[in-house]
Subunit: 405 residues, 4 copies
């Protein structure tokens, strides 16, 4: 066992940290202003384009993609500390590096399961950062954490599929530049539970696609990221060639996609928690109440120490999970992926909450990133499956050897 | 000891519940739409005016004011269960009954400490619901939970006071109809700590008053309530007669104002928690996941039971505090007011969090009131003094008899 | 609603407080020494007898019994604050007043359901404090929180019942002076679920009764209270007249017995928490670490404030529950009894834990009552039904109106 | 970074696991009976001697000592997973392998700071497991977590030191075979804060040494481990040569001793938590309540999953800390040692508490090791420094870079 970070990663960390300090942090205020000036545009504020160019030039592009044909060729373990750093400025850094969800998951999906034609048409511009994409899985009318509940119908009609259904929380889809939707639905309702669903590619401009509204997240629209759309699919027709990985493979692909997606979220959450702890410490030394700085008050010290203790533990579990994914594969790391999905958002939520409390009103306002960091942590307690479902599943695995007896 | 609700209160409860069912709950969707249609108006959506008229006609007006010359003449103990009911629809009901903060505290303040002229000019239209008011205390640059830190200067210059300073979180002040600001600042910087501050009335249209922007609260502008303004006072001149209760009385008046203000918040929080628990239960029986309704799943049952247990305890402490305020006065109930200020927001935050989790994405979106309920509970963990300050103060009182030995 | 304590209760409170100060607290050290000197006697230390005589003389005897023919004739609401006071010295005070479990529950049971002959033979000496009794319900081999699981067989054989089975956690039964066991078992295995069990009186000296060992509670034997026995019943024969309240009434009687039993525990837990908080405060002002008393350290202040806040809430819920039992009966107060059974042990456990932490090693040792207070609170998180069962049941009630729709 | 366990460690793990299964677990019941039969002997039950011989033969002896001249020569990182395994049976395994506290810390101390004569006389028989030792630091009258408070006087008088003072929680010292006490006290009260104390070796049979009583730990005497003694030192004279590492080195040696001591405790706590989780799972599949096994009930599943998540995180932090101690030294790992000292006992306490709850009465009784496991975890929340002190210190380090600005 060896906890040393490897040379490649350290070099990337240094380069990325420099990029954050020279480009990303200074852009935060600009990003904020541009966003406030055009709240309904649903596109990334203009400052992003420059940052993307800078990142690309700095060799910080598509770091998430382990396949060297498409991306940086880093392992999960190497990417983890980098994703963490981008999590420190989650509104800007991931997208600047073309490493933002849901595009990352969608690119992985296309790289792994897409046909050559699909790759040419959609993966290529995504890798270039020219278009964006959405993943349409969650539905308003059913508990979507149980994939078996998905009700959207995708029916074969000659050379086409005809799609009917309603999706929501399709993140990014409000962005007019979001050109392609990956839609999950039932093609084979009578097949085995895990063979019923398929994924099909639906270009945004296909007739029958109705992007209806953006869902708000607490009071945020997340417009810079293209929001979270409710979309209606009414008799939407796409060629049969648009199916990804074959009919009936929807569930398997979804599982394959979610593992890396979940760990990326967790990596960034570590960075969000670190950013919040940094803000907490700064506030603590600056702010005087009742005759002494917050930094000298026992309760605030307890928050800081406890934050450090929790962050360290979560980070190590994320790193070990990344290492497992690299060494035994995503399936072999299934339990650990669930474990970090349970532990990390709760940890980040706790740390950010304390940072908010030390900031008082400022902490929940637009003047600090804390409220938005908190919302992202909170969101991840149910996005990609609620804590309760992961706990149930993890417990079943833990109990298995005892039942067998 | 007797836990029976008295006849008067029961009668009001019945009347108010009917009003909620017939008028308030049905108005929630309309309110929401009107708000969405005019997000920058900073005024209450038009539907409110009709509700105010209905409430007045139903004898549900100014219930919070114990002085029968001005309001319903109810005791705190009688008002508590009614405020709780309004808390179930906090975006609409309190204002519909002219019982919304910060106007309630400002009306009490004027009723108790205002001159006859001040009452005529400002209290009267407030009691009629014709204008709204703001309380300008918190400042961006200091820990305002320690009133000694307040830095705004109010200098005597002949027959006038000249005000210079910056305030924020002046709730309601973005509303153009918010006509009067009660501003706290230092008049006597060299006096004893608790005699330094005064409160002066500043009409909104006084030269030098600059309402600069609305602070956001986890993404919400709270525009329906007039937002939370940052205000700059630059050489603002008001006549000496605008001081409330005499120069140097600022701290004493603030203390007097905050007691009822805090309990009103706590009363409404009980109602918010009840509303969230109701939504949680409804969701639990409606939503099926993994083969059975959430209502039959142990973890959700635990949330529901624990919510009930926590709500009941907090409500009883709020009621006892109200009774103490009625029987031994606000000062005599000081410790209990701190206790409910610590306990109730945390309780409500916990309950609403569970209701959100059971709703998944819907719970944090605009489709349910839950995210906004949560934000209000969270906000009250530091508004009117953070939990930590109340705990410190409460502990000192508890320790006093032991130190004396 | 009125939170004033009535005259009768206040007079008892004053008298009991005096008794605690003059007799009970001074006896704690003696009690401790006598216990240490004879750890295997399983009887109350000799000092108890004197205290019992004093209590009786002071009119502080059998306060728990609402029926004036047998006890003080106090309502539950009147008894609650008195039981709380006895909880401050739980090793001594309840027994000194003849108000200790399980005798209290057994006396209530005999008073309500016993035949005249049963009352004469067993209730009378119990009321006089001459003998002690045990309640044999929990079994080692089944989850006894589900009464339907109880497996002990009680078979009719002519004029006798023949009992076979194994019980444990029969509190008090190790005491040689514990003369009578109330045994619950199945008489009618084929009857309806709630008509299967009966309760029979089994004198300790009946052939076939084997008191096998005392269970330890963490490291305590609770020998002063007669321990917690494991008992084997092997072909134990008792006359048919020994059944209590009729064959098949076991479940109903158990339910009737458990309501008051649970609230008595909760009342005393409030007192235990108050004692712990008092010890915490004393320690905090006395102990200096890192240059200042614990009382001036923020984290300890937080413990103290939070303890006060939690105690107050739990006490009010216990008092309201007592009032409900007095006004609408034990069945009407069912939900509230569950609520206090969930809330109070957890609260007390939390408060005592903090007091222990402030005492360091002393806190878990024989030099302070804290470790033993903690163990009693912990024990009550599953004794008389684990929290989880109460939460499940309470949730079902809460959900009922929503399911009906 | 690489999470693979090295070959040496894996080989030891396999051998130790076999030893646990063949010798230790089967001995638990015997140990228990022997202990119950002679509760006042204060010595290890006879079964231990055989196990020690077996362990020695199996090459599982003095594994904790990194110096190959004395022990197995394992690094901290290699020893950690082995200490974890011994933690699964903490009453037996550590002592069977001669790896039990406080002897381990005392042996390390003598190996590092002892003179050749001291090593010959005391280290040798300790390494052989022939005698035992105690570490006398904590005092009843002061907050000993602040070493500056230590009040025992060690005064030079010619060629001797004269010791006067009172110690308690000297673990192991009730055992008649505990031959040597390492006593910390003030030799130079006027020196700098960290040069005031020295450590001297005091043979048990020195005149003036009064071993007064064993402290209880939640009712347990820990007699198998020699209890926790209160010791009075009255004019105890020892030769000057008995000082360890030089006069005035007490604080430095204590710091050096506590680092490894703390991590050993944490390693074993991981094993205790694993044992508790195993018992929880076994119980969950065996026990039926309300119609289904506990294993199928949501709340119990949540406990199991959450236990797994917490154990994994704590283990990784312990392992990383061990690695840091190996690579950058105990001082370089200071913050991490504090972090695991805060995190691990709380984690273990939580897991064991849940296992207890699933066992009901059995869980707190002598029939399962759970209550005793819990007590050890609880004890470690303040032994070797309370959580609060570690948090304060850790927070100061975290804040340092921000203050510098």
């Amino acid at each position: 066992m060896d906890f040393t970070t490897d040379e490649t990663t350290r070099e990337y960390q240094a380069r990325l940290t420099e990029f954050m300090e020279n480009h990303v942090y200074p852009a935060e205020a600009v990003h904020h202003e541009q966003l406030a000036a055009a709240p309904e545009s649903w596109s990334a504020p203009p400052v992003l384009e420059g940052l993307k160019a800078e990142a690309r030039e700095a060799g910080l592009w598509n770091l998430f993609l382990p396949d060297p044909r498409y991306g940086a060729g880093l392992s999960n373990l190497q990417y983890a500390p980098l994703a963490e750093i981008t999590g420190r400025s989650p509104a800007i850094a991931p997208e600047a590096l073309n490493c933002a969800a849901p595009d990352t998951g969608n690119m992985e999906l296309l790289a792994e399961f897409g046909s050559e034609e699909q790759k040419d048409r959609w993966l290529k511009p995504l890798l270039e950062g020219e278009i964006r994409s959405a993943f349409c899985m969650t539905e308003p009318d059913v508990a979507s954490s149980d994939a078996g509940n998905i009700a959207t119908r995708i029916e074969r009609d000659g050379d086409h599929y005809v799609i009917n259904g309603r999706k929501w929380w399709s993140s990014g889809a409000m962005n007019p530049n979001c050109a392609i939707f990956i839609v999950m639905g039932q093609t084979d309702p009578d097949a085995d539970r895990h063979q019923r669903q398929s994924m099909v590619l639906v270009p945004r401009d296909t007739p029958g696609v109705h992007v209806k509204r953006g869902m708000t997240v607490f009071g945020y629209t997340d417009s810079a990221h293209g929001g979270h759309a409710e979309i209606e699919f009414r008799d939407v027709r796409v060629p049969v060639a648009n199916v990804v990985g074959g009919q009936g493979k929807g569930f398997a692909i979804a599982q394959a996609r979610l593992g890396p997606g979940r760990i990326h979220h967790c990596m960034r959450l570590i960075g969000m928690a670190e950013r919040a702890l940094e803000l907490l410490c700064r506030r603590a030394v600056d702010r005087v109440a009742f005759g002494k700085p917050l930094a000298d008050q026992g309760v605030v010290q307890e928050w800081i120490a406890e934050s450090r203790v929790r962050i360290e533990q979560a980070r190590l579990l994320v790193l070990k999970t990344a290492w497992l994914m690299d060494t035994v594969g995503n399936r072999g790391a299934h339990t650990e992926i669930q474990a970090i999905k349970i532990a990390t958002p709760l940890m980040a939520e706790w740390v950010v909450d304390k940072a908010i409390q030390a900031h008082g009103g400022a902490g929940i306002s637009q003047d600090f990133p804390l409220a938005q960091l908190w919302v992202q942590a909170r969101l991840l307690r149910f996005a990609d499956g609620p804590d309760e479902v992961h706990r149930m599943s993890l417990a079943r695995r833990e109990l298995k050897p005892y039942r067998a007896r």
